[in-house]
Symmetry: C2
Subunit: 130 residues, 2 copies
């Protein structure tokens, strides 16, 4: 992922309404939700909601699929995954930088399958990453 593309995704999520929409869809799982339900839950007028849904769709963070009169929106997990991989790549020069995220543990583990990674203190992370 390139910087420009990542910035686009981040900007799309960098708005309270859109972030809320996205998280509703992330939590809803693959079944997703219809705009009606989202709008009701978040209290957004239909045109405003539509504006944000199309923004999120354009950048590839969600996707909408027509179903008779409705449009079922769902999160595109793969896009989110790539974004987080981008953010955490080449980080921190060997410091333990992302204990809550826990991605680092797994990366360390894959590099050295015998290591114990089940504790709370993560190994150094992310150095020779993709």
């Amino acid at each position: 992922m390139e910087t420009l593309n990542a910035a686009e995704l981040l900007a799309a999520l960098g708005h309270e309404s859109r972030l809320s929409i996205f998280r509703l869809l992330v939590e809803a799982g693959p079944e997703g939700l219809f705009p009606g339900a989202i709008g009701e839950k978040l209290g957004l007028p239909a045109p405003t909601l539509s504006f944000h849904l199309s923004h999120l769709t354009r950048v590839g963070l969600i996707r909408g699929q027509k179903e008779s009169r409705f449009i079922r929106y769902s999160a595109e997990y793969a896009t989110m995954d790539e974004l987080i991989a981008f953010l955490t790549s080449n980080c921190c020069q060997g410091e333990a930088c992302l204990p809550k995220t826990a991605a680092c543990d797994t990366i360390a583990k894959r590099r050295n399958p015998g290591a114990d990674v089940s504790g709370d203190t993560p190994a150094a992370c992310c150095k020779p990453n993709e």
Copy 2:
């Protein structure tokens, strides 16, 4: 982390110059960089750079420390960590959603220490998360 705060962080990163600045600092590690070096590397005029540095500082993604005539900026990894934890919490209803990120593996592993998490296919993730 609350949605509003997360949106602020994402918006701060959702600008190509700021994202580039942040990533330079992430890669620079705890030693950080001075604005001069950043500006030169990214080709940004000093006032523009300063504007973005103060934005990133205000939201807590970086921090600046005066050192004689210079100001040493460095990434605040903890903030990034919390942001990613927020983004990946309560996701995907048991689907395997973030294989590249790899956070899911570790979360699964912590839940069930005997599991093998070293392969490329992550376990279901993130369900009863913080």
